[in-house]
């Protein structure tokens, strides 16, 4: 049964990727400018090269052939060149991706760390002042425009108080060789004498962007955990457990939490898409060298191959993460199994 379910998911995934690549493929035609340039990322193509490239990309054949060749190039890692740097878009993105993932991971971690306990507290203290306070804070966090929030935090913590730096991942005077692309592991792996200072510096750089990025998901977590917890607490088995003489805490821990947190795991996957969206804005404001800033820069540069590649990679990632959490959720939660 499980195999059948997984097989169906896999089939769906394949279908979704086909749809996505068709979409990306059609972008080359939809974007302004020369189709051949959009496909290859080359500019000022000479007539001789044009003939050769047209043959190579199959642009003289029908769309299906072109699409198949396009997918073939994607799979071989032979993506288009970026207009601005004339480098393979995939290589460039793989360089900037870790920064985004790192930031998103910290933010997600932060939002779980803060959001779930607050949500539980709010649910347990339903309609008391603590619940009202937490819910109001959640609503405020839910409504605040992230770019404005980021500017406020910079104004207060960087410019007025001078506690935290405003941009980048690490003070520029620290020279840390890139191994994994993730800053903290890289610092620990490096052999510089100032490793310890660098580590602290990296954390100071990370603090504001992570908090900004975590704000929205945290509020979602609070609201979601609270609702889910309230649902569970109204269930009969909770009442039964209480009736059997278990203390509030015991009931909460052994019966309430587990059942309430199951839907929350699903939420983690859904939040990933939001995180990536918000990361784009956060990265622009904090000059964080991740894929979001890279994509926004590509727009300013009218760098079509880069936009195409970015959309493809980011969407694939989001879909993959979503699918994975859904599968995990299904496997762990018997109620969600409808095989």
């Amino acid at each position: 049964m499980i195999l059948h379910y997984l097989f169906r998911r896999l089939f769906l995934l394949a279908f979704v990727f086909v749809a996505l690549t068709v979409f990306a493929f059609s972008l080359s035609y939809l974007f302004p400018g020369d189709v051949l340039s959009n496909f290859t990322g080359l500019r000022n193509i000479s007539p001789a090269d044009e003939v050769m490239l047209t043959r190579q990309l199959g642009l003289d054949q029908n769309y299906l052939q072109q699409y198949l060749l396009f997918v073939q190039r994607l799979l071989q890692g032979d993506w288009a060149l970026s207009f601005s740097s004339q480098q393979n878009v995939l290589t460039e993105m793989l360089l900037v991706m870790p920064a985004t993932l790192e930031l998103a991971a910290y933010a997600l971690f932060l939002s779980l760390l803060v959001g779930i306990p607050l949500g539980i507290v709010a649910a347990v203290r339903k309609d008391k002042w603590l619940d009202k306070l937490i819910s109001s804070l959640a609503l405020i966090g839910f409504s605040v425009p992230i770019f404005w929030w980021a500017l406020l935090l910079i104004m207060v913590f960087s410019l007025s108080l001078g506690w935290l730096p405003t941009s980048g991942r690490l003070g520029v005077l620290y020279e840390i060789p890139t191994v994994t692309g993730f800053m903290l592991p890289d610092i620990l792996l490096s052999e510089q004498s100032y490793r310890q200072q660098a580590f602290i510096d990296a954390i100071r750089h990370m603090l504001l962007p992570s908090v900004v990025l975590a704000t929205y998901p945290t509020t979602v977590m609070i609201r979601f955990t609270r609702d889910s917890m309230l649902d569970v607490l109204e269930q009969n088995y909770i009442k039964t457990a209480r009736a059997k003489g278990l203390t509030r805490l015991q009931v909460l821990y052994t019966h309430g939490l587990r059942n309430a947190l199951l839907p929350v795991t699903r939420q983690v996957g859904l939040q990933f898409s939001t995180l990536i969206t918000l990361a784009m804005i956060t990265e622009v404001i904090f000059s964080w060298p991740g894929i979001g800033r890279w994509l926004i820069d590509s727009i300013y540069q009218r760098n079509f191959p880069a936009i195409q590649g970015g959309v493809l990679l980011v969407s694939s990632l989001v879909i993959l993460v979503n699918m994975l959490t859904e599968i995990m959720h299904t496997l762990f939660n018997p109620l969600a199994r409808k095989f």
């Binding site: 769906l12 279908f15 979704v16 749809a19 996505l20 972008l27 939809l30 974007f31 302004p32 609503l139 405020i140 839910f142 409504s143 605040v144 425009p145 992230i146 770019f147 404005w148 500017l151 406020l152 104004m155 898409s273 939001t274 990536i276 969206t277 784009m280 804005i281 622009v284 994509l295 926004i296 727009i299 300013y300 009218r302 079509f304 936009i307 970015g310 959309v311 980011v314 969407s315 989001v318 879909i319 979503n322």
Partner: protein, 297 residues
């Protein structure tokens, strides 16, 4: 003359009245509603209300602080920006861009979503299944990414942003409408109506839709807060509304240059976005609570 009652009649309030009965006592939600009404009238009436021309530059009055500060002027209550334009007029006009256009985008998207959602909700089979999977795909793509693609194809600009946001909102509406319809189809009164011989069309228009509109409104408010935030975010990133358009997000981006000298030029538009979204969310939350309470009674 008092009406004669022949037999006992249970006094049932209409559902709308009931909803209001549960909504009005929630102070915050009520406050949000008042704010929304003010913003809405501002969005519509702005052209007749602004004290100054929002685009008129005045090189004699650059970065005048708000009037509560010592060097402020009474005729410019919120001060001027770095080109000497009246900030208050610009902020008022911004209501019709950021908030007004967000409403239009949500309405447009909702309408299309309703049609497609109804089609998908009422149909079954492989076609519907493929459609649903495509929808799930679209739901997972971040809205900003979708907007970026659309802006890349069409070029930056406020109008293109609106298209992008409409498109980005569409999947969730279709999804919501489809689910709402599916829920309705399970109800006993739907079956009863069917047994009466109603066809699909009659079913949809006389039973299902009237019973889902509240959910639609709820979805609409949630989408509205997203739309306002997205319009502002795209404006801020410089790929939405272009300067000198008095859109709140673009105004923040424009004023970033003077953030040290004139922090209010950044703070005020942001505050307005925040208040708008907060008001929308308050109303949305209030509606949800009211609906839940009504169901419980």
């Amino acid at each position: 003359m008092k009406k004669l009652r022949l037999y006992y009649e249970e006094h049932n309030k209409g559902p709308l009245k009931l909803l209001w009965k549960h909504f009005a006592p929630q102070h915050f939600a009520f406050f949000g509603l008042v704010l929304l009404i003010i913003l809405l009238s501002l969005a519509v009436l702005t052209p007749f209300l602004t004290p100054h021309d929002p685009y008129l530059q005045n090189s004699q009055l650059l970065l005048v602080p708000p009037s509560w500060q010592d060097s402020g002027l009474v005729s410019y209550p919120l001060g001027t920006d770095d080109l000497g334009r009246d900030l208050m007029s610009r902020l008022m006009l911004g209501a019709s861009y950021t908030f007004g256009l967000a409403i239009l985008a949500v309405l447009g998207s909702l309408l299309v979503g309703l049609v497609l959602g109804a089609l998908s909700g009422m149909s079954k089979g492989v076609k519907s299944s493929i459609f649903n999977h495509l929808l799930d795909l679209a739901l997972t793509i971040p809205s900003l990414l979708l907007a970026i693609v659309i802006v890349a194809v069409l070029g930056p600009g406020l109008l293109n942003t609106i298209w992008a946001i409409m498109l980005a909102l569409l999947p969730q509406f279709i999804h919501g409408v489809r689910n709402a319809i599916a829920q309705q189809l399970k109800q006993d009164y739907v079956t009863a109506y069917r047994l009466d011989g109603a066809n699909q069309r009659q079913l949809l228009f006389s039973v299902i839709l009237p019973n889902t509109w509240e959910q639609l409104v709820l979805m609409g408010t949630m989408a509205l807060s997203t739309a306002v935030l997205d319009i502002a975010a795209l404006g801020f990133l410089g790929i939405g509304a272009q300067s000198p358009t008095a859109e709140w997000g673009a105004m923040i981006a424009d004023s970033l240059d003077s953030i040290y000298l004139a922090p209010w030029t950044v703070a005020l538009p942001g505050l307005l976005i925040f208040v708008t979204v907060l008001a929308v969310n308050l109303v949305g939350d209030g509606l949800r609570v009211a609906m839940k309470k009504r169901r419980e009674n």
